[in-house]
Symmetry: C2
């Protein structure tokens, strides 16, 4: 029996995605803070996907995937499973394209993400992350409805869409006179970082690429060390709800393995401290999972001294109650 | 006896200030949110002075003032009085220029602002805002030391420096393909808005200019109505510590009177709701006083439907404890 071939994704796919999302996705700002530069002793450029539609980069890939559905696929609509940001991205893309969408979300997902997903007009089906399989639920619903399952990361169109972050980042860095020594990005399933790496290796091959992940979900670091995909049991919780995918995918991992310098893990206290720093000094709202690349710099887990670093802030959808507790130092 | 002539400020002064602060002040981003556009039914461009050094626009004017001191003036240093943002601006400008700085701050100023002012190396003298006169304290210290008093707004170099916000805003709006129908800015003493108005009337005369102020400190609205400067007794407190100046100045008011379409007042509950909106939807940290122009749009006190509006977000220095209470709806 032959193995099913894994679809490949290329730089050209990212360029095609950029043309599809143009004028629909926000070209998010790249900002620089003298205070942050001074703190790390280098030059840091922050790519603010918090300013993207739905407050996270996920809209890019979701729209690039959904806009390519055809005929009967469009009428049957889409099903996705997500802790929140992919959910919102798919829900909004479906709304803009006039498709029905059902999103399978964990019952302990941030309330803001669930509310926003419903706000974009999607149907939400909650599940228990410890006893139920979201993949099975989504597959069953998709079969019943003839709907298309939209994966959160392991899909070539999703990867290509997220890669547009890299296209913008490199162009904006160049416009700011910055030649990037390295790019650091949050990584969960690897859709965003694999997409960025396709762009970076094409346009700026000398730029080193780093993944930042929760230390309790350091499957990428383990996988890079072992040379093959390793899974983490998704039983523990971290602050980084957006990054609790047990492993990368068979599409994303080979790209990451080929292109990354490495991956570093961040603890909850380090992430909370980063959110407080972003609030007090940068005046930016970040969600825990969206801040781990910045956390990697602030903790020196990725050395930034004397370097020019692009940092992806991937999302800002954090519940106000949690953020208030973090501000008060209770988390 | 002849009256002392009031110094004038011109568009050329703002251009000269822009040359002086170039590379030292941040060219802050102008951002646009599809969600906000949808909410107000128009196009809104947010000028984020929260991303400026010291977290507020004040660094621009302070640096433009201090860099023009000469010889003995430089050695004797500077004295300023401020609730916080001007304090930080002067403190950082003095640090960069190697001048001693003493700042007179109210004892109930936000702790973050006091700490940051000290952090930039300035000496801080606290005073009781209800029983002491900050002007008298500053004047006395200045005389003792031979130091130069740096006013927070009623100074031509300060006005010119703050006006650089307008230069950037108009250029960035043009680059984004936006022809501004109106600009709304927070106003306290009027340094920022008078400076912006000098630029806007020169480069985009059709753009209407609006001031937004706390409704309990609506001295500008009263002054515009009466045609002369009116003062508000600074005895009440609002959330907007940055905008509690009792009146505009004899330099700033004539410019505002000539150039403004009007001024609107915002209540504390409206400001708190705006901060929560900025957090949840825009992923931006704003301080109360920095958010009043956005609040004017969200409350429709300045109509934005069908229009293209530039909104100045003037600062983001808010104590985490207060912000946490606002997020929890306790304020």
């Amino acid at each position: 029996m032959n193995a099913i071939p894994v679809p490949s994704v290329t730089f050209k796919d990212v360029q095609a995605a950029a043309a599809r999302i143009k004028g629909l996705a926000v070209e998010t700002p790249l900002v620089e803070s003298p205070a942050l530069n001074e703190r790390v002793g280098g030059r840091v450029l922050l790519k603010l996907e918090t300013q993207q539609r739905v407050g996270a980069f996920k809209f890019r890939g979701a729209y690039n995937r959904l806009v390519q559905l055809e005929g009967a696929q469009k009428q049957a609509g889409v099903v996705a499973f997500s802790s929140g940001n992919h959910a919102q991205g798919v829900a909004l893309a479906a709304k803009l394209l006039g498709l029905p969408a059902l999103i399978v979300m964990p019952s302990d997902a941030p309330a803001l993400k669930v509310a926003n997903t419903r706000g974009y007009g999607a149907e939400v089906r909650l599940y228990d992350r410890l006893t139920e399989s979201r993949e099975a639920i989504a597959a069953e619903i998709a079969q019943q409805r003839g709907a298309t399952v939209v994966p959160a990361y392991n899909d070539p169109h999703i990867v290509a869409g997220q890669g547009t972050v890299g296209l913008e980042l490199l162009a904006q860095a160049r416009a700011a006179g910055a030649d990037l020594d390295q790019i650091v990005s949050p990584v969960g399933g690897g859709g965003l970082l694999s997409g960025i790496s396709l762009v970076s290796k094409e346009l700026s091959p000398r730029t080193a690429l780093w993944g930042a992940e929760p230390s309790l979900y350091n499957d990428l670091a383990q996988s890079l060390e072992k040379g093959e995909r390793v899974s983490v049991k998704p039983t523990v919780r971290t602050l980084c709800d957006a990054l609790e995918s047990p492993s990368t995918g068979d599409i994303t991992f080979p790209i990451l393995k080929r292109n990354l310098a490495g991956a570093v893990g961040l603890t909850d206290p380090e992430v909370a401290e980063t959110l407080r720093y972003a609030f007090a000094t940068l005046k930016l709202v970040m969600e825990p999972g969206g801040s781990v690349a910045l956390a990697a710099l602030l903790t020196s887990k990725v050395a930034a001294k004397g370097k020019t670093t692009g940092v992806v802030v991937s999302g800002g959808n954090v519940d106000p109650e949690l953020f208030a507790r973090i501000l008060k130092g209770e988390v």
